[in-house]
């Protein structure tokens, strides 16, 4: 629609825009809470996770002289701004899932971002025992467990050596 990817062909539509696509899939598969108030809480969590996701996603394209500071800032945001909120949310209600005592997209995306953050710093969850349990528990959900196994459609991190190829696809010859 806007000359961009991702694009997902689904249910007779050519869906674009990550959030539109994720919103549709979540709602269709009952992963978006049971009412408006649960949905807004899920959205708040998901938007924050997407902010952190974007920080990590942009790491490979940072100029070499700015990279160290960028990574330090990313780790700082993960450990001081984002993870404490999710640790507290799970601790406060004591349930297995972030919202409404039921698996939602917020849990799925939280697991995804935990694993991405651990690729940046292996012990990034050191101060978050509740998130460590969350990670273990959510990883065992059969569909998710399957996705975490080798041979699934899950993609590995972008390596710095592959960055030029990706940039060429989106921006042409530099």
């Amino acid at each position: 629609m806007f000359q961009q990817v991702p694009m997902v062909e689904m249910d007779g539509m050519k869906l674009v825009q990550c959030r539109a696509i994720c919103n549709y899939i979540s709602a269709k598969h009952n992963l978006y809470g049971k009412d408006l108030k649960e949905r807004v809480l899920i959205d708040m969590y998901v938007e924050a996770i997407l902010d952190l996701n974007e920080l990590i996603m942009r790491a490979p394209v940072q100029p070499a002289d700015k990279k160290e500071k960028y990574m330090a800032d990313t780790v700082d945001k993960a450990t001081n701004r984002y993870f404490p909120v999710f640790e507290k949310a799970l601790k406060d209600h004591g349930k297995d899932f972030l919202v409404g005592n039921q698996l939602s997209r917020a849990d799925v995306q939280l697991l995804e971002i935990i694993l991405m953050a651990e690729e940046v710093k292996a012990d990034i969850l050191a101060k978050f025992p509740v998130l460590q349990s969350f990670k273990a528990r959510t990883s065992k959900i059969p569909t998710i467990k399957k996705f975490l196994q080798p041979g699934s459609p899950r993609k590995p991190p972008l390596e710095v050596k592959d960055v030029p190829k990706v940039l060429k696809i989106f921006y042409g010859d530099q």
Binding site: F2, Q3, A20, Y24, K28, D43
Partner: protein, 222 residues
């Protein structure tokens, strides 16, 4: 009885402006608490009012909502501006993400150096005319209805009008090749709640001036 929603942000458009538009279009009266100094922001943070230490924050229906899209989606759904089913919602989401991308580019212009600003302004105009506006022009042409989705006013229409007006501030005749968008602009501007919001004295905020840029930089430390 629930009070009016209360918006916490600086006295400028930024990321809060789309929320002001949506509330106004829905006929919801709201109050604003303006962050004028770094200390104001610190106070909100120290109070624990900001879930991720960031604004926009909107106090509404017993919640302190943060994250612009979460807030907008909630208001849209609550006020029947989010389509009648999942598929309409997907279309609204796609259209809104497009206008969000365009307005996002325009939002950062005041903070850029003269050289970068000139380049980005050209890019914005190019994208508006070649990537974004053609999509909305075609959508309206294909179904021939007054509104983008479901033959009914939705968040997508309100957001598009906001984007059109912002784009016209970049180039006054930016809609010259888009007759249906011109008609759309006229029509949506006349909706009573929106017409009221477009009048002087409303809570709509003007574009940034140099003084506001300096103030925002000081508050948010960039």
């Amino acid at each position: 009885m629930a009070g009016k929603p209360k918006l916490h942000y600086t006295k400028g458009r930024g990321k809060m402006e789309s929320i002001r538009w949506l509330l106004a279009a829905a006929g919801v009266e709201f109050e604003e608490d303006f962050i004028e100094t770094k200390e104001d922001l610190e106070k909100l943070r120290n109070d624990g009012s900001l879930l991720f230490q960031q604004v926009p924050m909107v106090e509404m229906d017993g919640m302190k909502m943060v994250q612009t899209r979460a807030i907008l989606s909630y208001i849209a759904a609550k006020h029947n501006l989010y389509g009648k089913d999942l598929k309409e919602r997907a279309w609204i989401d796609m259209y809104v993400e497009g206008t969000t991308d365009l307005m996002g580019m325009i939002m950062y212009l005041p903070f850029q150096t003269a050289e970068v600003k000139e380049k980005n302004l050209a890019l914005i105009i190019e994208r508006a005319k070649n990537r974004y506006f053609p999509v909305y022009e075609k959508a309206l042409k294909d179904h021939g209805h007054d509104y983008l989705v479901g033959n009914k006013l939705s968040w997508a229409d309100i957001h598009l009008l906001e984007a059109i007006l912002m784009a016209e501030e970049c180039q006054a005749d930016i809609l010259s090749a888009f007759p249906l968008l011109q008609a759309f602009k006229g029509r949506i501007s006349n909706i009573p709640t929106i017409k009221k919001f477009l009048q002087p004295g409303s809570q709509r905020k003007p574009p940034m001036d140099e003084k506001s840029v300096a103030r925002v930089r000081a508050i948010f430390n960039f």
